[in-house]
């Protein structure tokens, strides 16, 4: 399988969830790093800026939307797909206003996620080209 050029960062406090998800993406040729909380995520973004971040909204410590705000402030080209456990429209909508690419609801359909990532990557590419 072709190695995808996407750099993906998965952020969720549910370690088993993210690590399994990362492994599954890996199996689909998508390189995914994981972060278990907001601080780790921001750190990871600084070390190696990803194209796409899959970000859980509800986390202990720094909330997803805050991470989103920080990332978007420094790296507006990074596309963020929000994950909400509660499917709360409010957070989803708020996230969209803050510049998230889209939001998805847990549990995820992996194929749908990959599809969404593809769209996001294209947008990210465009964003980078515009710069």
């Amino acid at each position: 399988m072709d190695r995808s050029p996407w750099k993906v960062l998965l952020v969720d406090d549910e370690q088993q969830f993210v690590s399994t998800l990362a492994e599954r993406l890996e199996l689909r040729g998508i390189a995914a790093r994981v972060a278990y909380n907001g601080d780790q995520a921001l750190e990871a973004v600084e070390i190696d800026t990803p194209n796409i971040i899959v970000l859980d909204v509800i986390m202990p410590g720094m909330k997803g939307l805050e991470v989103l705000r920080h990332v978007k402030a420094k790296h507006p080209e990074v596309q963020v797909i929000l994950l909400t456990g509660q499917g709360a429209t409010r957070d989803g909508i708020e996230g969209m206003r803050l510049g998230a690419f889209d939001y998805m609801i847990k549990p995820l359909d992996i194929e749908a996620l990959v599809e969404k990532m593809e769209e996001a990557y294209n947008v990210a590419l465009q964003a980078r080209n515009m710069e």
């Binding site: 549910e14 088993q16 969830f17 399994t20 998800l21 492994e23 599954r24 199996l27 689909r28 909204v57 509800i58 456990g85 509660q86 499917g87 709360a88 429209t89 409010r90 957070d91 989803g92 909508i93 708020e94 969209m96 206003r97 609801i105 847990k106 549990p107 995820l108 992996i110």
Partner: protein, 576 residues
């Protein structure tokens, strides 16, 4: 995520006493109304009665005084006249007795001359005579032949010897004519005595009484102390008849009593006893006549009282009716409000529970999902074999079960979306566009045409963005569910004075009337097994909380139009 808060500042359940009666019994209002009317009527009527009674008594007393005092005055005057009349006559007789000696009076010629002078100066004298100490008439002048009559056994003859002067009752005597005797005793120098006696015609009394000028319903007369009439009376018989009633107690003042005469008339009886003479002067006046004015006034009183009472009752009844009606309505409104609050609270707590539960379940569910997915991914990379197929099936069924669980939790979350209001100034068009962005993909995939007809000049309104999105999302979701592929949804917004009006019209399946009546009720759903039946009830609740209104029209087979009305003034004050 925001903690789902209790709606509109009611953080705790209201104290039970605020609930009021659970069932607003109509009897309660009837009783209340009756109480009000009775109390109001009493408060108004009791003073009326008191005033009426006081007026009645005062007026009657005043009227009585007015009737009585002329009667008293008249009686007093008449008594004086009679006393004067008698005293004058008696003094003349005394003068004759003193001025003339026995021999002078015994001489008939002298006696006649004296009598002539006497009767020319005073009216009423009938005769004049001299009686010796043996009681025998010595000389006499007058219309009767009384010469030599012996009076020694008469009661007056005894009395005059003791008293010196005697005035008799009216009597017939020897003359068969009502008359009165005045006798004066004179003691001679030699110790012998003689008596000068004169008779008075009692018609003089009648004249005096006639001079009182009595009204036709009144009567006045003289009685002696035995109750025998001394003058003619209008109603109680002629002179010397026994009066048909017992005499009132003795009094020399003028007394007035309310009594009933023998004919049964209510009368005022005024009377006075004479001190020197055995006489009682009495005047009787009909009370009916006297109080005729009073009767008329009493009629007015009663009329005013009755009309007043009726008016009071009418007014009390009318006022109370309005008051109780008002009370009833506000009770009902309160009852309704409490039910609504209660309902909201119930929904809100169910919502919190559902949200918590969904959150807790979703994370492990996500893990199961990923692990089973990974299992499947790994199996896919294995060489084909019977084992692989079996494991793959198992993984699929796990994934299918997870999907089912996900649908359930998502439904629960949809129902839990009730949050605190966060009011800000919003462009409704913007909110509509944002909301639409969530659905555009589904609409595109089903080739549903979405037509926007938004008024670009719409003013911003204070409202809650999240809640409004929820509202539009719910309605749009329903519209999407209603239309078939290639259907059409038209979203329009416009200004309508006080409000901003958003209508969402679809050309979908529509709803029958029975469904339409229930769509805003919680747990009502036509999507059996898929919907929670809360979407529109929550939508309705939100719109109401935002101070707006929602209206729905639907024709089966032709489509549905939802119209949301949002106030431009918003409900800023209701932030909790």
């Amino acid at each position: 995520m925001d903690k789902a808060a209790a709606p509109l500042g009611i953080k705790t359940s209201p104290p039970p006493d605020l609930h009021g009666p659970r069932d607003v019994a109509p009897r309660r209002y009837k009783v209340l109304r009756r109480k009000f009317v009775v109390i109001m009527a009493l408060v108004a009527i009791v003073p009326l009665i008191a005033m009426g009674a006081i007026n009645y008594l005062e007026f009657q007393a005043a009227l009585s005084r007015e009737v009585q005092s002329p009667l008293r005055a008249l009686l007093y005057k008449t008594k004086n006249t009679i006393e004067l009349y008698l005293a004058e006559r008696a003094s003349k007789v005394s003068f004759i007795a003193q001025a003339y000696g026995f021999e002078d009076l015994a001489d008939e010629t002298t006696l006649r001359r004296i009598f002539k002078v006497l009767s020319s100066t005073s009216e009423g004298f009938v005769d004049l005579g001299l009686i010796g100490d043996d009681g025998v008439q010595v000389s006499y002048t007058g219309p009767y032949a009384l010469q030599g009559v012996d009076y020694s056994n008469e009661a007056w003859f005894q009395l005059v010897q003791v008293k010196g002067i005697y005035i008799s009752d009216v009597f017939m005597g020897f003359r068969r004519f009502p008359h009165i005797v005045i006798a004066v005793r004179r003691l001679g120098d030699d110790g012998r005595f003689w008596i000068v006696r004169t008779t008075l015609d009692t018609s003089q009394f009648d004249k005096i009484i006639a001079a009182m000028g009595l009204e036709s319903d009144s009567d006045a007369f003289l009685l002696n102390k035995k109750g025998v009439l001394q003058t003619n009376s209008r109603y109680y018989g002629d002179v010397l008849k026994q009066a048909p009633f017992t005499l009132p107690p003795q009094s020399y003042e003028i007394n007035l009593v309310d009594t009933t005469d023998p004919a049964g008339r209510d009368v005022y009886m005024a009377y006075t006893y004479f001190s020197d003479v055995n006489l009682v002067l009495m005047a009787v006046k009909s009370r009916v006549g006297a109080l005729q004015t009073w009767s008329a006034v009493r009629g007015d009183f009663i009329l005013i009282f009755v009309v007043g009472t009726i008016l009071i009752f009418l007014v009390a009844n009318r006022l109370t009716k309005g008051l109780v009606q008002h009370l009833k309505e506000s009770d009902e409104r309160r009852e309704f409000a409490f039910r609504e609050v209660e309902h909201n609270q119930r929904l809100s707590s169910i919502g919190r529970l559902a949200a918590g539960l969904a959150h807790e379940v979703n994370n492990p569910l996500a893990i199961i999902n990923e692990q089973a997915g990974l299992l499947k991914d790994l199996l896919n990379r294995q060489a084909d074999g019977p084992e692989k197929e079996r494991y793959s099936r198992l993984a699929d069924s796990i994934l299918a079960a997870v999907k089912r669980c996900r649908d359930i939790t998502h439904n629960m979350l949809g129902f839990a979306r009730r949050m605190e209001l966060a009011i800000e100034f919003l462009s409704i068009n913007e909110v509509l566009a944002e909301t639409l962005s969530f659905l555009r993909k589904e609409a595109e995939s089903r080739d549903v045409e979405i037509i926007l007809d938004l008024d670009p000049n719409l003013s911003t309104i204070p409202s809650d963005r999240g809640q409004l999105q929820q509202v539009f999302l719910n309605i749009l979701n329903n519209a999407l569910a209603a239309v078939s592929d290639k259907g059409r949804i038209q979203i329009s917004s416009k200004d309508s004075g006080q409000n901003v009006l958003v209508s969402i019209e679809d050309n979908g399946c529509g709803m029958p009337k029975e469904t339409l009546e229930h769509i805003f009720e919680p747990f009502f759903t036509t999507k059996k097994g898929r919907g929670t039946g809360l979407g529109l009830s929550i939508t309705y609740g939100i719109v109401k909380r935002l101070g707006g209104d929602i209206d729905v029209r639907s024709t089966p087979g032709q489509g549905t139009t939802f119209t949301v009305l949002l106030p431009k003034q918003g409900k800023l004050e209701e932030r909790s």
